[in-house]
């Protein structure tokens, strides 16, 4: 990136832009919104509150061209093995290609639909013959966050015969035990979702679940009626005991953090129904088409990605806040934390050499109105320069049993707060008393979507996926591996062995003494 012509052109532009206050840009051009927003059906992207001008945008687009973004997009959609460190494709776009479905993918859709229908028609039976009423999704990372985020966001649109869906992911089993205490084993189905079907986190929880069913079922033979498996590895699923008719498959070319579009989305389909699941795929597919076909200048994910690069590498902003103004998107920031930071939180280029510039910023977030009472103080008056994405929906929730006027009142209040915060961050408010002085000049994007439903949520998630991809191309990163998470797993195995042996041999003094104290405290009352 740093050796491109565009990079050289952008550097001086950054220097002069740093000297300008964001509010001056608005003062200079009362129609600033016009050149710095993009629209696509159901989505408006306002980036006028960024410290940019047309010259900067043009150079950023040149940067994308110089980094051969067009070729990379083509390779992404072709299913080329662009995850070269694992010799795999990253073909999540094929999972949602509803206009020309991949036959293998479509076959799994049909199997998923049949299982979903059985559950909805109350014909999926546990050992007692009673129908399944509760689903516990056991999975970590992508096998947890995606379905959790979506089912929570779209709970209002759940299928009329939807079972209750619960998610457990933490290997301390606290979440699981809490559920086992109140659920009926006869009517509970476990969905064990694991790409490799070898992750200790998932399998340890699945084993605990199996023991629970075994303790209540009349015999061993009927236990597996309570388990559905989702994995790329059918052999391992069979070995664990998952019945063939309860096995859902996905493929090596589906990355964990892109897997909600695959059969990992089974919990989503159970909750929303196949129609809801398909709508979500269709929304993502519409974004795919937009990303693939639209010239970079009008391409929303391309611009969203490039502006992030501009802020990180040229304006030296250090963090990215995600601020959805809808409580249904409670888990959206957590979802993006994985998507962005696991993808681009890297320091090695594709060719294996070290990176000498900054890459993925720290990303965090919270539902806007709650965050206002938490970290907005820092955004308004702190020393850190942060970029924010405000996410807002034009239409609020409308429920037939609620008072329409009160609904409008609350929704308008929500809109007012969102717009007020981005405006305050932009303009600030000078005051002689420094305690009450707001410097402003904090940049933000606003993503305005028509409404929060399966289609628009699919579109929003795909938008961020492509943003991440665009940035990875500019930064020359492979965004589809995650070698950084391996070392910790390896050391955990080693420390677990030490714990079993009650030995601290060969451990560093910090780890050794922490362990000793743990053992001591565990034997105290």
């Amino acid at each position: 990136m740093i050796h491109t012509h565009a990079y050289a052109m952008l550097q001086p532009l950054a220097e002069s832009m740093k000297a300008q206050h964001l509010k001056e840009l608005f003062a200079q051009d009362s129609e600033r919104f016009k050149p710095f927003h993009l629209e696509k059906e159901g989505l408006l992207f306002d980036f006028s509150k960024q410290k940019i001008n047309t010259e900067i945008i043009d150079e950023l687009l040149n940067l994308a061209t110089e980094q051969q973004l067009d070729t990379w997009i083509e390779r992404l959609f072709n299913g080329d093995k662009i995850n070269h460190t694992e010799n795999r494709a990253a073909w999540h776009t094929a999972l949602r290609d509803v206009s020309s479905p991949n036959p293998e993918v479509a076959k799994q859709w049909r199997k998923m639909e049949s299982l979903v229908n059985q559950v909805h028609q109350k014909q999926f039976r546990g050992y007692s013959g009673k129908p399944i009423l509760d689903i516990i999704n056991i999975g970590v990372g992508g096998s947890d966050l995606g379905p959790l985020m979506v089912t929570h966001a779209l709970d209002k649109d759940k299928h009329e015969h939807a079972p209750d869906v619960h998610f457990v992911s933490t290997l301390d089993a606290q979440q699981l035990h809490k559920l086992l205490k109140r659920l009926d084993p006869a009517t509970t189905l476990f969905v064990v979702a694991s790409k490799s079907f070898a992750t200790i986190d998932t399998l340890s929880l699945a084993d605990t679940a199996k023991e629970w069913i075994e303790a209540h079922a009349p015999n061993q033979e009927v236990v597996m009626n309570h388990f559905v498996g989702i994995s790329t590895n059918p052999t391992k699923m069979s070995k664990w005991g998952i019945l063939l008719r309860h096995q859902l498959i996905f493929w090596e070319w589906v990355g964990g953090r892109f897997s909600l579009w695959s059969t990992i989305g089974f919990s989503i389909a159970l909750r929303l129904g196949m129609q809801g699941y398909n709508d979500m795929l269709a929304g993502a597919h519409a974004m795919d088409q937009h990303f693939k076909q639209t010239p970079f200048k009008q391409n929303i994910p391309v611009l969203l990605g490039l502006i992030g690069v501009w802020n990180t590498n040229f304006l030296n902003l250090s963090a990215q806040a995600i601020l959805p103004y809808d409580s249904r998107l409670k888990y959206f920031a957590s979802y993006l934390e994985q998507l962005e930071m696991e993808s681009n939180g890297k320091r090695t280029k594709r060719d294996g050499t070290a990176i000498t510039y900054r890459t993925c910023p720290i990303l965090w977030g919270e539902v806007g109105p709650n965050a206002q009472h938490a970290f907005y103080q820092l955004l308004h008056q702190g020393t850190e320069r942060v970029m924010s994405d405000f996410i807002l929906f034009s239409q609020g929730v409308s429920q037939p049993d609620r008072d329409r006027d009160r609904e409008n009142y609350h929704h308008n209040l929500n809109i007012a707060n969102c717009l007020a915060q981005s405006r305050a961050m932009m303009s600030g408010d000078a005051n002689e008393d420094l305690h009450k002085d707001y410097p402003g000049d904090q940049v933000s994007n606003t993503l305005l979507l028509k409404k929060l439903d399966a289609y628009h949520l699919g579109m929003l998630v795909a938008l961020y996926e492509h943003k991440v991809f665009v940035q990875s191309v500019i930064w020359d990163i492979n965004p589809f591996d995650q070698w950084g998470v391996e070392l910790g797993k390896k050391l955990a195995v080693d420390i677990f062995e030490h714990i079993k042996a009650q030995s601290v041999d060969d451990l560093d003094s910090s780890t050794a003494n922490l362990l000793k104290n743990i053992w001591k405290q565990r034997h105290e009352n």
Partner: protein, 414 residues
Amino acid sequence: MKINVFGDNISALVCAGCLAETGNHVVLVGHRDNEHSEPNLTKLLDTQIDAGRLNISSAFDIETEYQIISFDPEQCEEGKRIALSLSKGHNPDRCIIIRSNFTMGTTKTIEKLAKTPCIVNPDFASEGRAIQDFRRPDRIIIGHRTPETLTQFKRLFAPFNRNQNVMIEMSPESAELTKYATNAMLATRISLMNELAEASESLGADIEEVRQGIGADQRIGTSYLYAGIGFGGTHFAKDLYRIHNLINPSGSKEGLLDAVIRINDQQKEALFRKAWQHFDCHLEDKIITLWGISYKPNSTSIEGAPSLELIKAFLNQGSILQIFDPMLDADFTMWMRENLSLEQQKRVHIATDMYEATQNSDALCLVTEWQAFLSLDLEQLKAKMRTPLILDGRNLYDKTWLNDNQFTYYGIGR
């Protein structure tokens, strides 16, 4: 006396027929499409028409003294329309009687529209014995507001109140609620018995013995104490949902009737669960025999019948069904077409003989207690069935006798 009866359902037809039978001149404002499922109803109507006391017509005289509204609960609007046209009449002696089970409060609306007080006389007859229940009711509930209408009503219903006085007077609102409350009480008894039946199974008790024990208590009595595979029927279940919606907002909100309904829904699948457990969750390709499809004996009605839930459950697990019912009619074929896939329909074989339905069978499910099913030809069953397994949804059979004859027997709660 001259009477108009409005409605087409069994309740209206029986009312019209029985009132004609006692010497009145009755016009049934409706038609005769629904009489086939009620025993002896056709004969009753034909006789009364032949005798000239019953006419069927779409036109009616608004000045007729007795106007009986007997529509289905869903036909509330029809009832109001009739009330409005009656308001134009001038007969000072007319008496409007509502036998329909409308939503609570509808009586008041009808009275307002008709500009006259009405009598509420809920129909408690059960399907299959509607005529005898009308002729010899165990109570005649009269919800009224004025002594005049009460006297008129009593005059009309005197022939059905001869042995002993079974008339109970109350306000129209109480009469409306009495009808709902009766069904709620009966349903609650049945669901409680089914709950106790399930407990009996795990505690090693026999619900039949328990039933006799508690039924002997005079405060409880013996009726509606049978554990079984749930209640069905057009009105019973529907009324229960209606009263559930009715008392939910005004009652304790503790969900008693919710539980009653849920237990009943679960109970309909009881025989399926027993087969499922017996075969360790493997029911694919098993041949299952069902005896009885209608929700009760001597009726063709299949609405809300447990058999339908069993059929769906078994077919979804890949079983093959061989069914027999003495009075199966087109309603069942229609139900299959609407609720089953073509592939599933192909796995349902309707037998013309009860034992033919047990050929190669892996399980015989007794679903409806038709008289023909009361005594078993065990030799024939043994020769025909592939697996000697009997699932008795009505606790009809002697389990010891069946066990002695090498049959595996499952009842409800025993």
